[in-house]
Point group: C2
Amino acid sequence: MKAAILTVGTEILFGEITNTNTVYLSRRLNDIGIDVMYHYTVGDNPQRLAEMIETSLRDCDIVITTGGLGPTQDDMTKEIACQVMGDHLVMHDDILEFIKNRMLSYKAVMTENNVKQALLPSRCRVFYNDAGTAPGFALARPWNGSESDTAEADRMQWIACLPGPPKEMTRMFERSAMPWLEELTEGCLFYKEIRTFGIGESDLETKLLPVINGQTDPTIATYAKDGECSVRVASKRKTREEAETAVCEMIKRVEEYVGEFIYSTEGEDYPSVVGNKLMSSNLTISAAESCTGGLFGAALTDIPGISSVFDRSLVTYSNQAKVDELGVRLETLEKYGAVSEQTALEMAEGVRQKAGTDIGISVTGIAGPDGGTDEKPVGLVYIGLSLGEKCGGRCLCRKIDRRLKDRQRNRRHAVLSMFDMIYRNI
Amino acid sequence: MKAAILTVGTEILFGEITNTNTVYLSRRLNDIGIDVMYHYTVGDNPQRLAEMIETSLRDCDIVITTGGLGPTQDDMTKEIACQVMGDHLVMHDDILEFIKNRMLSYKAVMTENNVKQALLPSRCRVFYNDAGTAPGFALARPWNGSESDTAEADRMQWIACLPGPPKEMTRMFERSAMPWLEELTEGCLFYKEIRTFGIGESDLETKLLPVINGQTDPTIATYAKDGECSVRVASKRKTREEAETAVCEMIKRVEEYVGEFIYSTEGEDYPSVVGNKLMSSNLTISAAESCTGGLFGAALTDIPGISSVFDRSLVTYSNQAKVDELGVRLETLEKYGAVSEQTALEMAEGVRQKAGTDIGISVTGIAGPDGGTDEKPVGLVYIGLSLGEKCGGRCLCRKIDRRLKDRQRNRRHAVLSMFDMIYRNI
């Protein structure tokens, strides 16, 4: 099956908004084995919108639109969809009731415009909106592409119209549009995202070649983002259980090849994985940061409830702060420098002792873009880990030497390495 | 003038990459008064690419493509552009020389594929690539839209082909494509971005209505992003000087209406504005963070060289840490709670005294989504500011009560408020 994704909205053409809906829909359609052939964006203009739907349906089975379902004059996707697909709008009483209740829960007044939102094509499949008022829908017509032959007389093609706000769109897609697509494609889809750290995308792909090659279901795709790589494993089978079993079996195979780099097979990010592990094991933690400036603490405290195990992070940017706050010895700083294994270890040990936590983690490095020397180049980072008795009572240090000038990437990588260091040692 | 933006690349259709190029180009074309009518994305398929270029040129004067200029088999934008525009590829010796030098500087071997990159349409305008090897170009043909009349016999239409990697694309656009578009549209473009904090987008727009209404040049557009709003002022005039003068005069008018919310008229973000102000005034700073978990220090240390004024940030998540590290009094915590004006002030004063800096800033609040009470709801944040003698020797506190459950947005807003608090008081 072939699909086009059509975004409706002048604000997208102005560049006011990044089109994240299209990325989301592309992935989900690919997951289920539907080939995305085109992305289109048009403004709130009836003629161009109608043309684009027709263009999409020339060689696609499905066109999915986002946007233009709101209650204002600009919003015309429903009308144009009817025009192209040969249908007309009628009042759907159940939807009207739904919208009334929704407005009531918002404590908002029901306007004439809201009533209009209950007008939908007469023979459509309705998608309820859990996060807003505008319902979506899917509507079919017989295939009328120019290349259709007699054998295709029964073939249908569809338009599915979803709202523009990403929160509403994704919820409606997952709860209503996806089950409809699963019916259409006669299969159930299940996927998981494996997250890795410490391996590049091309390396990962090479190591996984024996698994990827010739593999049609489950599909395996690698993605690189923000210094990490993830592997998406998706399967489409007759039942959800079969698809889930196939995905889980494939994940086991992936683990055989690259298990040492995996930290989650449930799509969680590193701060969540480590934070949850600390909370469930009731291990307390404190941090001493230099080059990351607070990014580690910021990432960890993104997790609600982390206050039960996270005590403090001391961002000691100056040498004086390292001495004052962490008890790093002046002679260590003088002899080895602030960016050294010795300083990292004293920082980790210092903060753990001071805070009385089970774990102390530290980082010191040269984030760049300037400030490096031949001996200590930009990108050099040391991570110290001090483990109290409950965790085996030892101190470790990891050296990272990436020779990369990019300050942001060096800092982000250092933070991920801190989480990795904790994850691999507790 | 009307334009379409055409993205070439199967990886976009797979949803592997977010299409940021299109957002960028849309804004820049709007700046210069070119109406963007369509966004299209197609895969690396010659027939569909040719069709999409033809579709774009049916009612647009310009189609700008990104992607498909690389050295591999997949890359076919040049060939297809020639086919549609009625030209053929020839070897450009100056480009060949340029690519050779580029490869030399990369210490990379020049391959047959790299040689092919010097093949460009015979009558194109070449755009050099400062950040990669693939050159871009612009190519014209007589207007052949179906609606053209005799008066339009001389009218031309264009394709401009730019590389896909955003870094290469944006540089090439600014240095080569923009001057070409300025020639085409017979004008020079100048724009500035005004950044504000503490006002919502609809409020901002309402306050600016007297300036925006009926305004055609300079154009004024508001954008909301990450808890802030910015105002983009763009002018297109005969010379760059005229455009710059018009923009600067308009900025003065904008300042009359919303000056109190503006912190930059040069498009800089708040951490940079505050960081640079601290560095140029040689004012040292330390911070005490609670609910932001390190985000303030992380934002400030994103600025290279900030170590000359930033000493430390103490992320005191637990009450014990607030007592240990900042000398907050137990009775203050017991009587007023950790989230209170009194605690915020003691935190700011405590860290400033301890670090011996000119400025001490603190934050304590309930980021959510849970943990609020009727008296102290989620979203309640106090920011403390302690100023040493050099800054007038006083202490201030700001209370923020947003009643918002979103943890990330509350944290981000708290950090921006800290920068705002410093900016407005030094």
